[in-house]
Symmetry: C2
Subunit: 561 residues, 2 copies
């Protein structure tokens, strides 16, 4: 058997990474990271208004640079044996295209117009439109939000599309259709970007565009027209069918084959979102709960369709057949803030230092602070009377999305120092995790193992041990620190026919785990008591004015690792 190689490309918020992998052994042969040049300069964004746009040229330049970079040290033989490329991206990150599938921003007349670019997942300019979608859906015959946890987000496809059509007449005139970032990148590689025929990702469509087989695809034209006549007829220029990422999108175009020094036989797989491909890269299996733990968490669980079927899982962000692996229901959950809660506290402490002692001192403190507090917090005695904090510093994504919620800290006394507060915040993020796990279990979806990837999982043994104690479950940390790109490579290997199934690809290419945290029984019991107090405090904050205040959705709903 000849060697066969695949390439996974992972588009993140700030940069894109490509990974060249041996499709039979999983061995990584080359990798390359490219930062988006325009994005880095802050172009087309207005953070004060939560407007975040990315120019398609940033993506195209990154696509070429990273694949070539990953191949830079490969022998000519290896180049000839590349058989597949798959791509994951952030999302929902949609953009308007013309009849040819060209992003409007690639036309001279739209080159500098942010509304002709990709609207990044964390752009919140469509808050009002999301509210309208929710209102209408909740009063429609079919509640189109039922498979996305009952709440449509301003970060998602329809809200962003509607907002843009409302505010920009030029886009209204020239946008024939709309595409998700992950679909467009893959289509570009094949040379066919025709919006009517390119293969749309099940993952993106199901989680963000309200696509479901129960609805015969997207929401009805009647619904969309009622939402706004501007949406009338759009459904027909979008899509009805969607594809799981084990499917091929097509083959590499001549143009791109030349650019990359690869053959036109290379299969390009259907794209998907980063967290979903990351879960595959981290060796997700049925009823494994894969948590991508960074500033926030994105949690992916999958279960055989025949066991869960169309049963609604209450209060979970999304459930989409095939969004992770074909034949499996992909369930998505997440915490709006995880590492961000610790970063918030670090900022609280370093802020006055910055004001009074300058940037140099503040930066120095900032670098040392969280490791130092972790070290101190680890030494603290655990009791049933410890502080209780809520982790809703950026609202709550799951269970039961509510972006108006805020965080709280109780149980403070004169002896409470920074390490004690930090310990409570770490526990709060773990309790938030526990409430998601409990919800799955209550809804009849058992969780058989917990796998973690992402920056916090890799860097914070104290946090991970606390999480294991609170969940009362062992947690395995995936060895790969490029789980998303590795997952994309696994999909590429299946789309290219190297492996018959995704499971086989995982078995051949998986890189395993490098740490496992076991719950400590003496702590489990104490955390059980503290968790009940967390729930009680949370119920109070949820029901009372002290917490209800203007919506804060900054960074909420991130798919991004």
């Amino acid at each position: 058997m000849n060697n066969q190689y695949v390439i996974g490309v992972d588009f993140g918020t700030d940069s894109v990474r490509a990974l060249l992998v041996d499709a039979h052994t999983g061995q990584a042969l080359g990798t390359h990271v490219h930062e988006y040049a325009r994005w880095k300069q802050g172009l087309y964004c207005n953070p004060g208004q939560s407007q975040f746009r990315q120019h398609p040229l940033d993506y195209l330049e990154g696509l070429e640079a990273t694949i070539n970079g990953a191949l830079a040290n490969a022998t000519p033989g290896v180049r000839q044996q590349v058989v597949g490329i798959s791509i994951d991206t952030t999302g929902s990150t949609p953009g308007p295209v013309d009849e040819t599938g060209q992003l409007l921003a690639l036309r001279p007349d739209f080159a500098e117009n942010p509304n002709g670019m990709f609207i990044l997942w964390k752009d919140h300019t469509a808050n009002a439109e999301a509210g309208e979608i929710n209102n209408l859906a909740h009063h429609w015959d079919t509640d189109y939000t039922k498979y996305v946890g009952g709440i449509y987000s301003s970060e998602w496809f329809w809200a962003k599309m509607l907002k843009t059509l409302r505010v920009d007449e030029a886009v209204r005139q020239h946008a024939f259709s709309w595409v998700e970032h992950c679909d467009w990148m893959s289509a570009v590689l094949t040379g066919n970007t025709n919006p009517l025929t390119l293969r749309r990702s099940r993952c993106a469509a199901g989680h963000k565009a309200l696509w479901h087989s129960d609805f015969n695809g997207l929401p009805s034209d009647e619904f969309l027209t009622r939402l706004d006549p501007l949406l009338s007829g759009q459904r027909n220029r979008l899509f009805t069918d969607t594809y799981t990422s084990d499917q091929p999108m097509g083959h590499l175009s001549t143009e791109w084959a030349e650019k990359l020094g690869l053959s036109t036989n290379v299969v390009v797989g259907v794209g998907a979102f980063d967290a979903h491909m990351g879960a595959v890269g981290a060796e997700i299996e049925p009823y494994a709960f894969v948590r991508i733990i960074g500033t926030s968490t994105c949690d992916i669980l999958m279960a055989p369709n025949e066991e869960i079927g169309h049963r609604l899982i209450r209060g979970i962000c999304g459930q989409v057949d095939g969004s992770v692996a074909p034949g499996m229901l992909g369930l998505e959950a997440g915490q709006s803030a995880f590492g961000d809660l610790y970063a918030w506290f670090a900022h609280l402490v370093t802020g006055p230092v910055r004001d009074l002692m300058g940037d140099e001192a503040a930066d120095r403190l900032s670098r040392q602070l969280i490791p130092h507090l972790s070290q101190q917090a680890e030494q603290l005695h655990l009791t049933e009377n410890d502080l209780i904090a809520l982790d809703w510093i950026n609202g709550r994504r799951t269970p039961d999305a509510n972006h108006t919620l805020k965080a709280a800290i109780s149980g403070l006394n004169l002896g409470t120092d920074a390490a004690t507060v930090f310990k409570a915040l770490v526990e709060a993020t773990a309790f938030g995790s526990r409430s998601i796990v409990d919800r799955f279990v209550q809804e009849g979806v058992p969780i058989r193992k917990v796998i973690a990837i992402g920056g916090v999982a890799k860097k914070s043994p104290f946090v991970m041990q606390t999480l294991a104690d609170v969940l009362n479950k062992p947690i395995q940390v995936a060895k790969s620190d490029q789980a998303c790109a590795l997952g994309a490579a696994m999909f590429a290997s299946v789309a290219a026919g190297v492996h018959p199934t995704l499971e086989a690809a995982q078995q051949a290419m998986g890189s395993g785990f490098d740490a496992e945290y076991q719950p400590r029984p003496e702590r489990v019991a104490i955390y059980e008591t503290l968790y009940q107090k967390y729930l009680t405090l949370g119920e109070f904050i949820q029901n009372n004015g002290a917490a209800s205040s203007p919506i804060s959705t900054q960074y909420a709903e991130s798919e991004t690792v």
Copy 2:
């Protein structure tokens, strides 16, 4: 009319201060401060066990040094025209005496025994005894705690006396009786320290020793014996009568007249606690609420006996006929933490800086931090959706003492910085103040004006303005920064017959006010809403496990300015 001068002596926690005042004009002619030498070295204390003792020699040396110091620049004529001396002290700060009224620690066999010394107000070694007193009192025919708000504190007379008798056989054998610091100092000046005949302070006895005319004095021997047979017979070696501080204790003894270069005609007044004499120095009047605002607050209100009489004021620390001024019911309340809440937050922020950047950097930050945060917090927009914090970082003294309560902060989001938290903490202390004011009003005791003294009142315009806005009442800040010593001097002038009444003394000697804060109507309405949220959060924390945890009484129940 000849000139007449009086001296007020104010014994604080760390130092004693004497103030020489013209009894007719209130003009200060001299002042002197003396720090306790043994105390400064940390002798006889064990902070880890909350054991805080003060040696009577520290007091005696301070008494002589400060009065001589205040007189140092006085002409011989002035010395001859000193007519009165009165003393205030911290309390409850009791100590054991022999038959002659000598503090045991002044005898060679007790010279180094902490149990033969004064037990400082903040000593908490008698927590268990306070619990026993509460249990028994609440089940006795007469609830002896009813005039002290229903909860006897470990900081008070009986608990400390009982604890000491239990743990120290030598004290059991040689302690004939017990005295409060304020009584003993005054007695020492007169040369008569006989515990059976020295005039006991109504203020100390009523607020701390459960003395009340309804009880015919102290609790019954039956009650005390049931508490512990060690207390059997003690009542007869203590006192039945008590005296208001407008009364003379006696005249200066020959010995002390010589030490101080004063005449034996000098009248020594009956002593009292610092906050009560401080309220007089700050020109308290009926239904004026005088707040001594420092690390904690001690709040004093007085009302004519004929208007309030023996009516119980629910949940207020103490109510004692004549504890402030004769003929007036003295009502005491207070917050366990005020400036301490800000200091706690400053410590939270500077703690990691101390660990990681050293003492010099931390001390520098510490000096600038609260003024800096005040300046920033003052600029913040006030809304009905702001953070809500509880001020119970050291439990709650009033209303409804509960030392197990803890503080909390709610409404945190990613934008919450240190200044925002600081603003919430300042508001929390103001809300705590409001709940005391409201309780007085609900119980039929109107509050006609608010007067503030103490470090925070003098140094923090931002805090005082917030307090005025939250209370919706103007607040006057007394000009004197030695209000306690000035109040003691006023009492001395009445005891010596210079003025017929305390009111007359206040009129002649008062130094007025130097700042007045007016409530800002646009903020009053918003604070009304936020205060309701404070109450709701407080009710939750009080009723729920998240807050109930081991008793923390450190610094609670301080009388000290």
